[in-house]
């Protein structure tokens, strides 16, 4: 029994031992914030004091890129930094803060420009940000996608939260609604992380889908080769429970790629421990920290970092991940789908991807 998700609960659920902490010299990880979100060092220290027992960890961010504003800490920033440093324990962590120095700057674009101008960057970046695909221009998304490629070829892993609105919904004229994918989650060149809950929220039980977990099919990006067979298998296996085809684009990039717990977290923000914090912005740094640990082991062996993970992740065919097969996520509240989006299934699905990490197995699979 437990009272919510803490680092100890995550490490136990994902089979991480006391020894699973970072030790390589040339490893680092990062979280990025875009909304005048700042973390407070005292919150991080308090969080680690309360919840960081039982594993070696760092209690300070190694580097802040950008200028932290004054005033209150943001819940999002606190969550991200506290949890990437809990699974990616003892790994040097950077905090990118991108409020936009000028009113006319776009914070997310500023971050992309920054990545394009820094030769030494952390190997893993987690980002909890997204916009509806249909609110962005195709030219903008295509170019940002090229920026993700630029990061990928450099060996940088970019992880994005899949969103907290399930399949989403775009209300259209004449009641013909459709699902609403989110970008950058829908980019074929990032790893997108969905969310799960414990079957019993206060027990170390198995995981089911978190109904908010973002997922679906891009209307902009074609389905990349690496996921074609997995997605086709899903579409074939669940024909009866699939939403009507008018709601989604079966040939688009399907997401998420994997998932982790996203419900019922404890976060310390402004010196106050806050329970019941939820969302895929919780699961994303958790997965990011684990990938950093795997990078750590690879770097110690003289191997290159994981880089863009998806081709290798899909090659695993679910090996080393806990398959999540129960539950559906939300979507349009209309007569046709009645709030139900996609449902989890065996192997890959557009709610939890391939499932959640079994850390030692994933390490074994990705270390060589």
């Amino acid at each position: 029994l437990h009272l919510g998700v803490t680092p100890a609960i995550l490490r136990e659920r994902y089979n991480m031992t006391e020894a699973d902490v970072g030790s390589a010299q040339n490893n680092s990880q990062a979280v990025a914030q875009f909304l005048e979100q700042y973390y407070h060092p005292a919150d991080l220290a308090e969080f680690m004091g309360m919840f960081g027992r039982g594993f070696q960890h760092q209690s300070q961010v190694a580097r802040v890129v950008g200028t932290q504003g004054a005033g209150k800490a943001g819940l999002e920033a606190s969550l991200d930094v506290e949890y990437i440093m809990s699974t990616g324990a003892n790994i040097s962590t950077w905090f990118f803060t991108n409020p936009g120095r000028h009113e006319s700057q776009e914070p997310f674009l500023q971050w992309m420009v920054l990545l394009s101008n820094m030769s030494d960057l952390p190997w893993v970046h987690t980002v909890s940000y997204g916009d509806d695909e249909d609110s962005l221009s195709a030219a903008y998304m295509a170019r940002i996608n090229a920026e993700f490629m630029k990061a990928g070829v450099r060996g940088i892993s970019l992880l994005f939260a899949s969103g907290d609105s399930g399949a989403g919904c775009k209300h259209q004229d004449k009641g013909q609604n459709c699902f609403r994918p989110s970008f950058p989650a829908s980019s074929p060149y990032v790893t997108t992380v969905g969310g799960t809950s414990f079957k019993n929220p206060f027990k170390m039980s198995y995981e089911v889908t978190d109904y908010i977990s973002g997922g679906g099919f891009s209307n902009v990006f074609e389905m990349p080769e690496y996921q074609v067979s997995a997605v086709k298998a899903y579409l074939k296996s669940v024909t009866e429970s699939l939403p009507p085809q008018s709601y989604f684009n079966t040939s688009g990039r399907a997401y998420p790629d994997m998932a982790a717990l996203s419900d019922n977290y404890w976060v310390v923000s402004n010196r106050v421990p806050i329970p019941w914090v939820s969302g895929t912005s919780a699961s994303t740094p958790v997965v990011g920290g684990m990938l950093s640990l795997i990078n750590d082991q690879r770097l110690l062996q003289g191997l290159p970092p994981l880089g863009f993970l998806n081709p290798r992740l899909y090659r695993l065919q679910g090996q080393a991940l806990f398959d999540v097969t129960e539950g559906c996520h939300l979507s349009c509240l209309d007569e046709q789908v009645q709030g139900k989006g996609f449902c989890a299934a065996r192997s890959w699905d557009p709610v939890t991807g391939w499932g959640t990490p079994d850390y030692p197995a994933l390490l074994a699979a990705l270390r060589s």
Partner: protein
């Protein structure tokens, strides 16, 4: 002139309040995304360095190598810089890959540079952003040299603290 981003979304979310058009002398910064070279090769390189079955797996590129791959052509760099200079815009910073250019200018110059644009200040929860209330165009000659211009649309989304937080009741237990 024509639209670079033909599907620009100029709808301002309801939670942002328009507090008026920018004074023509007010400064703003725009980001110009210059057309890159070899994007298809970049994509193929990414596939090779990420595919565990490829002999290239893990052979990642340095930032310098990426820059050599995607750096906009001389023609593109010249055309964009010439265009900016012809409007008196000289305060620009380029990134190492030369595919982004960030320039400072007054609102009046920006509106002349990008026909159609009208810069307004929008405020939400004490945070202000400057964006265009109308779609922008660029001269046809520039279309082949630019992907988009940043700083005209795409207001920051609402953060978790401001209402996005999802907390659940204990009822599930």
């Amino acid at each position: 002139s024509g639209y670079l981003e033909f599907d620009q979304d100029v709808l301002i979310p309801e939670d942002w309040t328009d507090v008026g058009r920018l004074d023509p002398s007010e400064e703003l910064q725009l980001t110009f995304a210059l057309k890159q070279q070899n994007v298809a090769l970049l994509e193929e390189t990414l596939r090779l360095v990420s595919d565990p079955d490829s002999p290239q797996y893990g052979k990642h590129l340095s930032l310098q190598e990426v820059a050599s791959l995607v750096r906009p052509s001389e023609l593109t760099q010249k055309a964009v810089r010439g265009w900016l200079q012809s409007h008196g815009i000289t305060r620009c910073l380029a990134v190492l890959t030369q595919d982004f250019l960030q320039c400072s200018m007054t609102a009046a110059v920006a509106e002349a540079l990008l026909p159609g644009s009208r810069f307004h200040r929008y405020v939400r929860d004490g945070v202000s952003s400057v964006r265009s209330s109308a779609p922008y165009q660029v001269h046809d000659d520039l279309h082949q040299h630019l992907d988009f211009v940043g700083g005209l649309h795409r207001l920051p989304p609402r953060g978790r603290d401001a209402g996005g937080s999802r907390r659940r009741s204990l009822a599930a237990g």
